[in-house]
C-alpha cells in the first residue's frame, strides 16, 4: 500500500510562526473569536503538529524517494530503487504510527461529533474511512507553509483559503481561481438549463402540448428540423408529413431559400410556406418555375411577393385555385386587378391578410365580377375595405366561407344594412362565418344570421359592445341551423369606464345568451371561446356545466376574464367535458387551487405555482 500522501517532502520550515494563535494572550482578540468559532483549539493544534512532525521525520528518513510523486528531480529518480528498499522497515513503522493516530482520532470526541454530523452522508458511512479522511486532512499543510501546487506544481504559500484539488492536494491561487471559474460556469450552465427547461414546459402548455414524452413523429420531425441543412430531399413522404415539417421549420425560423427547395416538389399541387420572411422575390418566382402544377399556394409573411412576382405569375400558365397571401403589402391595386381579371376564373379560395393600404373596395368588386367559382373569401387586417366593399360581397352567391376583419369600422346601421345584404344572398350557403372586430354592428345582424344561415358550423362574432344578451338568446333559440362546432364570441361585452360594473341594457353575451348557446350547440361543440364575456353569471356556468350534463365533443374552452368563474366552475367544466384538452382561465381570480385531472391543461391560473395535477391510483398529484 502506498503511504498516504506525504504531507510535505520538505522539513517544516524552522523560522516561520506556525500558529500565531498561540501567541495571543488577550481575552478577546478577533482571531481568537474566529478560531473558537471554527472549533479550533490549542490542544488539537498541538496534537496535529506533533503527528505531522513525526510523519515528516519519518519521510525525511526515507530519503528524497517519497518526494518523487510531487516533484521528481532526475537525481532523486536515479536513487529511487535503493531508497525504497531501505525504507521497508521505516514504512512499517510509519504505518504503525499512522494506525495509532487513526485509532486516537476514532476515540476522540471531535470525531464522534463529526460522525453524527455526517450521519446521513454515504461517503462517511465507513468508520475507518472517515477516520482516515480526518487523519489525512490533519496531515495537510497548514496555513503559512509552502506547498507545491497539485496541478501546475509551482510552489506557493498555503493560506486558509487554499483549495483542495481533484486528488486531494492543495492548489495555488491561480489554479484555484481557474477551478472556481470552471465550477462556476458549470453551475451557471445547470441553472440556465433548468430555467430553459421550465420555460419550455410552460411554452408547450400554452401551445396545448401536454408535458411528458413526445410522440415519435414529433421527435423525428424535430430531429429533421435540426439537421435540415444536411438533407438533400425529403424522399417520398406523404403530403401531411411534409406540411408538418414545413410548419415546424417555419416555427424555428429555418425557412430559407436553401430549405425552400425541399418543399418544392415537381408535380405537387400544393406549396405552403408558413414563414416566407427570409425569401426574396426571385425565390417566389422559382416556386412557379419548379412547380408549375401548383394549384394551392399559401404563403405567410410573404413581404417580397411584390409586383415583380405578380407580373411573373401573370406571364405563366399557372392556374391557382387557392391563393392565400399574408403580408404582401407591396402588390399595388393595379396588379391585383390584373390578377383577378386574368386568373380570377379559376380561383376557388382567396385569402388576403395584412395588405395595409392595398386591396380595397374596387378589388372586392373585381372579385365579385371575375371570380364566379369563389367559395372562400377572407379579408383580414385590411385598412382599405369599407362598407361599400362589403356590399360587393353580396354579389358572390357561391360563398361557403366568409371571413372579414376590417380596420375601417362599419358605421352604425350602414354596416348592418350592408351585412343584411350579404347574409340575404349568401347566408343560406355559408358554412363558416367570421366577423371580427365589429364594434358597431347591432342585434339586426344576429337576427339576419338567425333568419338566413342554416348551414353554419363555425361562427365568430368578436369585439362588439352593442349586441345584447337578448339578441344572442334569440339567435340561439329556435335556430334552424344544426348545432355548431366552433363558436367564438370573445369580447362581446359592455364597456363603460365611468360605471364599469353596471350593465343596465344587458349588453354583451350574458347568462341567457350563454345558456341558449350551450343548449343549441353544446352537444357538438368542440371549440368555445367566450373570453371577456364578463356578464355571464356563476349560476349560468353552474347550470350549463351541471352534474347531469356532459359535452363529449368539447376540446377547448376559453373563459378568461369571466369574473364569476371560480374553482367550482372549473371543476364542473372538467367533470362535464371528459374529452377537454385545454381550458384557459386568465384573469379569473376565483380560480385558486383547483385540481386538474391528468392529461388536461389548465392555462392562466393566477398564481405563480401553475396548475396542479390531480393524483391517480398510480401516482401522486403534483404541480407543473
Amino acid at each position: 500500500m502506498n503511504p498516504p500522501n506525504p504531507p510535505n517532502s520538505m522539513p517544516p520550515p524552522a523560522g516561520p510562526p506556525q500558529r500565531p494563535a498561540r501567541q495571543i494572550r488577550g481575552p478577546q482578540s478577533a482571531l481568537t473569536d474566529f478560531l473558537a468559532s471554527q472549533g479550533i483549539n490549542a490542544n488539537q493544534i498541538r496534537q496535529d503538529a506533533d503527528a505531522r512532525r513525526a510523519a515528516a521525520r519519518a519521510s525525511l528518513q526515507n530519503g528524497g524517494g517519497d518526494g518523487d510523486d510531487d516533484a521528481p528531480s532526475p537525481e532523486a529518480e536515479s536513487e529511487v530503487a535503493p531508497a525504497r528498499k531501505e525504507t521497508k522497515a521505516q514504512a512499517a513503522k510509519r504505518k504503525k504510527e499512522e494506525e495509532k493516530a487513526i485509532a486516537k482520532i476514532k476515540a476522540s470526541k471531535q470525531f464522534q461529533r463529526r460522525r453524527k454530523q455526517y450521519g446521513s452522508d454515504d461517503d462517511m458511512s465507513d468508520e475507518d474511512e472517515a477516520a482516515r479522511a480526518i487523519f489525512e486532512e490533519s496531515m495537510a499543510p497548514l496555513p503559512g507553509q509552502m506547498e507545491n501546487c497539485e496541478l501546475c506544481e509551482k510552489r506557493f504559500s498555503v493560506t486558509a483559503y487554499s483549495r483542495a484539488g481533484p486528488d486531494g492536494g492543495l492548489l495555488c491561487p491561480k489554479c484555484s481561481k481557474e477551478l472556481g471559474k470552471e465550477e462556476g460556469s458549470a453551475k451557471k450552465k445547470r441553472k440556465i438549463a433548468a430555467g430553459r427547461a421550465r420555460r419550455q414546459l410552460q411554452s408547450n402548455l400554452l401551445d396545448g402540448i401536454y408535458p411528458g414524452a413526445k410522440d415519435l413523429m414529433t421527435l423525428c420531425i424535430e430531429t429533421l428540423a435540426k439537421n435540415v441543412h444536411n438533407a438533400d430531399s425529403l424522399g417520398d413522404l406523404s403530403d401531411e408529413l411534409v406540411d408538418k415539417i414545413a410548419a415546424i421549420l417555419s416555427k424555428k425560423r429555418l425557412m430559407t431559400p436553401e430549405t425552400l427547395y425541399l418543399f418544392l416538389r415537381p408535380g405537387s399541387d400544393t406549396v405552403t410556406v408558413y414563414d416566407a420572411a427570409k425569401l426574396t422575390s426571385d425565390d417566389f418566382i422559382r416556386i412557379f418555375q419548379i412547380v408549375p402544377t401548383v394549384k394551392h399556394l399559401r404563403l405567410r409573411n410573404a413581404i417580397q411577393f411584390k409586383n415583380k412576382v405578380m407580373d411573373h405569375l401573370l406571364g405563366t400558365t399557372v392556374e391557382l385555385e387557392t391563393l392565400s397571401l399574408h403580408g404582401s403589402n407591396l402588390i399595388d391595386d393595379g396588379r391585383w386587378d390584373q390578377f383577378l381579371t386574368e386568373k380570377g376564373s379559376h380561383l376557388r379560395a382567396l385569402k388576403v391578410y395584412n395588405t395595409d393600404g392595398h386591396f380595397g373596395d374596387e378589388q372586392l368588386e373585381m372579385v365579385a365580377t371575375h371570380c364566379p367559382n369563389l367559395h372562400r373569401l377572407k379579408v383580414c387586417h385590411n385598412q382599405k375595405v369599407t362598407t361599400k366593399g362589403v356590399h360587393h360581397i353580396a354579389k358572390m352567391p357561391n360563398l361557403t366561407h366568409l371571413s372579414l376583419e376590417l380596420y375601417q369600422q362599419m358605421p352604425f346601421l350602414e354596416g348592418d344594412l350592408s351585412l343584411t345584404d350579404v347574409l340575404d344572398s349568401t347566408g343560406a350557403g355559408l358554412r363558416t362565418l367570421s366577423l371580427a372586430t365589429i364594434h358597431n354592428l347591432t342585434n339586426n345582424v344576429l337576427k339576419d344570421i338567425h333568419d338566413n344561415c342554416q348551414n353554419l358550423s363555425k361562427l365568430r362574432l368578436t369585439d362588439n359592445s352593442t349586441f345584447t344578451d337578448d339578441g344572442f338568446a334569440n339567435l340561439f333559440t329556435g335556430w334552424l341551423n344544426p348545432p355548431l362546432i366552433y363558436i367564438d364570441l370573445h369580447k362581446c361585452r359592455h364597456i363603460d369606464a365611468a360605471e364599469p360594473r353596471e350593465n343596465p341594457n344587458r349588453v354583451g353575451l350574458g347568462s341567457a345568451g350563454f345558456e341558449a348557446l350551450m343548449a343549441h350547440s353544446g352537444l357538438t361543440l368542440k371549440h368555445l371561446n367566450v373570453h371577456s364575456c364578463r356578464h355571464i353569471s356563476r349560476e349560468a356556468f353552474e347550470n350549463v356545466f351541471a352534474e347531469d350534463k356532459t359535452y363529449l365533443e368539447m376540446q377547448e374552452i376559453d373563459i378568461s376574464f369571466c369574473q364569476s368563474v371560480n374553482d367550482f366552475v372549473v371543476g364542473s367544466i372538467f367533470r362535464s367535458c371528459p374529452n377537454l384538452k385545454t381550458l384557459k382561465v386568465f384573469g379569473n381570480f376565483g380560480v385558486k387551487e383547483v385540481k386538474v385531472p391528468k392529461g388536461k391543461i389548465l392555462i392562466g391560473v393566477p398564481n405563480a405555482l401553475g396548475m396542479q395535477i390531480e393524483g391517480t391510483e398510480e401516482d401522486e398529484g403534483r404541480v407543473i
Binding site: A197, L201, P211, G212, A213, K214, D215, L216, M217, L219, C220, I221, E222, T223, L224, K226, N227, N230, A231, L234, G235, L237, S238, L241, E618, D619, R622, I624
Partner: protein, 105 residues
C-alpha cells in the same frame, strides 16, 4: 371483443418482427402506444398471425429497433413531465418518420 380480451390475457409481451427477420419482444402495454399496433393486436390483421406477433414488411430491423426503443422510452416516462428527448440518429430520421407515420405514434 371477447376474443381480444382473451388474447390480452395470453401474454404480457408482444413480438415485433421486421422485414429482414429481426424480432423484438416488448411489453404489450408499451407497444399499444402505437394506435396501429393496438388495432393489429385487437383485430385480425394479416400482419398478426397469432395474437401477439406483428410482422412489418416495410420496416427494416434497424428502424424497428429504434421503434422498440421508443416504446420502452415512452412507457418508462409515462408518468413524468420533465422527460429528456430521446436521441434519434439523423440518418435514420426520414425512415423512422415514415415508420412513425405508419404506426401512428
Amino acid at each position: 371483443m371477447a376474443s381480444s380480451s382473451q388474447k390480452q390475457g395470453s401474454s404480457k409481451y408482444v413480438t415485433l418482427i421486421s422485414s429482414d427477420g429481426f424480432e423484438f419482444v416488448v411489453l404489450r402495454e408499451a407497444a399499444c402506444i402505437s394506435k396501429a399496433i393496438k388495432k393489429m393486436l385487437a383485430g385480425s390483421f394479416l400482419e398478426t398471425k397469432r395474437g401477439d406477433r406483428c410482422h412489418f414488411e416495410e420496416i427494416n430491423g434497424i428502424v424497428l429497433e429504434k421503434v422498440a426503443e421508443y416504446f420502452c422510452y415512452n412507457h418508462k416516462n409515462r408518468n413524468r413531465e420533465d422527460v429528456p428527448d430521446m436521441e434519434i440518429p439523423p440518418e435514420l430520421c426520414l425512415e423512422l418518420l415514415m415508420a412513425a407515420d405508419y404506426l401512428d405514434t
